[in-house]
């Protein structure tokens, strides 16, 4: 009896001590900040190391559907025999190869277009492939296959195509980087809302009036907990209409923001306001759905 009591007491003592340790870990982790300013702290380093180790595992899970199909085909090969069957399978295989060649050609064309659209004054990381999503219900992030070895650093914009902002890097290891997508509830960016006629989508250039601010809306892009992407703090007097483009503003007064100006984020889906509101309620349709992302690039300097 006494032994059980002492066991419970030691368990509770351990619980208390480890609770303190957990809180200490949390405090140290938050105090470390991200890896952008003073390098990575020990806890971030542990996570980055784990991300490197897990990279192949995540890749395996991301590509899980492919091997299943291959295994199914191989199983069929074992079961089915005969010349006719073999010829039929060879014909099928040739068709698959032709389809694959066509896919590769299209991909090649797309990559060439990407390179053509680069802004001359910007520096880009190499083309990155999305390895896998990470996080849980509080986050919306992916891991890409470029890292510090490719010149990528934390807090850099990540784009799709030539000019479409999809997120920013958070933690960067040697060969991978975590990207916080624009639809992550912790993502924020200063944006400007401009009519489509005022913005050249391929080049990301704003017309003179829009670049000076004009009477168009400015605010902060965020995804609310109601799960929609929106622009907050847009003045009630601003001119905003459905279909307008949402682009990064790059600056707020004297301050330079995290993103260069003119990166396209999405289009205005709806605009509303009520008498008691201080600001307009603006819902934005993102230009790219996170699940459609395959290749992205990091802007490393501008």
């Amino acid at each position: 009896m006494g032994r059980r009591k002492s066991g419970s007491a030691s368990g509770l003592a351990a619980l208390f001590i480890l609770c303190i340790v957990s809180l200490a870990l949390f405090t140290v982790y938050v105090k470390e900040g991200d890896c952008s300013e003073h390098g990575c702290g020990p806890l971030h380093t542990v996570q980055l190391g784990a991300a490197e180790v897990l990279r192949p595992v995540r890749g395996v899970f991301a590509a899980a559907a492919g091997p299943f199909e291959g295994a199914w085909g191989a199983a069929e090969d074992v079961v089915q025999r005969g010349d006719e069957e073999r010829l039929r399978r060879e014909a099928l295989k040739n068709k698959e190869l032709a389809a694959q060649a066509s896919r590769l050609q299209q991909e090649n064309q797309r990559l060439l277009e990407l390179l053509d659209g680069q802004r001359p004054s910007y520096e880009y990381g190499p083309l990155a492939h999305v390895i896998a999503p990470v996080g849980d219900q509080f986050t919306n992030r992916v891991v890409i296959d470029v890292g510090s070895a490719d010149g990528v650093q934390p807090e850099k914009p990540v784009i799709f195509g030539n000019n479409t902002l999809v997120g920013r890097t958070t933690e960067v290891s040697r060969h991978t980087a975590e990207v916080m997508l624009v639809t992550d509830q912790m993502f924020a960016a200063g944006v400007r809302i401009v009519p489509p006629a005022e913005f050249d989508l391929p080049s990301g250039e704003l017309s003179t009036e829009s670049a000076d601010g004009g009477s168009y809306g400015e605010g902060m892009l965020r995804t609310g907990w109601e799960e929609y992407l929106g622009v907050e703090y847009v003045d009630l007097s601003s001119e905003v209409e459905k279909g307008d483009f949402v682009v990064t503003s790059g600056r707020a007064g004297e301050y330079e923001l995290l993103f260069p100006p003119g990166l396209f984020v999405g289009t205005v889906e709806s605009v509303s306001s009520e008498d008691i509101d201080q600001f307009k309620k603006i819902v934005v349709t993102p230009a790219v759905e996170p699940q459609d992302l395959e290749e992205v690039r990091v802007i490393t300097d501008w």
């Binding site: 368990g11 480890l18 609770c19 897990l54 595992v57 899970f61 990470v134 219900q137």
Partner: protein, 169 residues
Amino acid sequence: MTRHSISRAALVVAVAALLEAVLSPYLTFGGISPKLAVIGVVFAVSGLRDLQAVLLGFFGGVVFDALGGGLGLFGVGALGGLLAGILSARVGTVPRKGTEVFLLAQVVAVAVAARDLIGLAAINLSGLRGPPLGEFLVTGVLPDALLNALLAYAVGGWLLEFVRGKGGT
């Protein structure tokens, strides 16, 4: 009282943490995601002493944090694992017949709710913007706890058998 193999329990906890860190992003629907690490801890430590349960729960949580699972905020998984461990160990001392999995599934529900709330507190404490508490309780914590309890009930029997091994009763 049934005793579990500590090495098997540690294996279950580690594998569950790894699986959650890798698989959870694919299986997240709104405010709900499978909390495999919590389920693993609860079923693995239910037959252990308090001290062992607490240590294993902490171990599972730290592994989960190190792998960048969940929020990626270090300490959140550790605290969640600790709570899951002590709750499971305490429930493990209650005599029961044939209702063990059901009882532990309820522990999973409580532990998942606790970890969700710890996550919310961590978000706010780290200076990020969290959802309103009331809304999160209804649309996040409650369904998350219920569905994870159901998942735990579905796989719990198998997990218990594995942790007990051949010598278990």
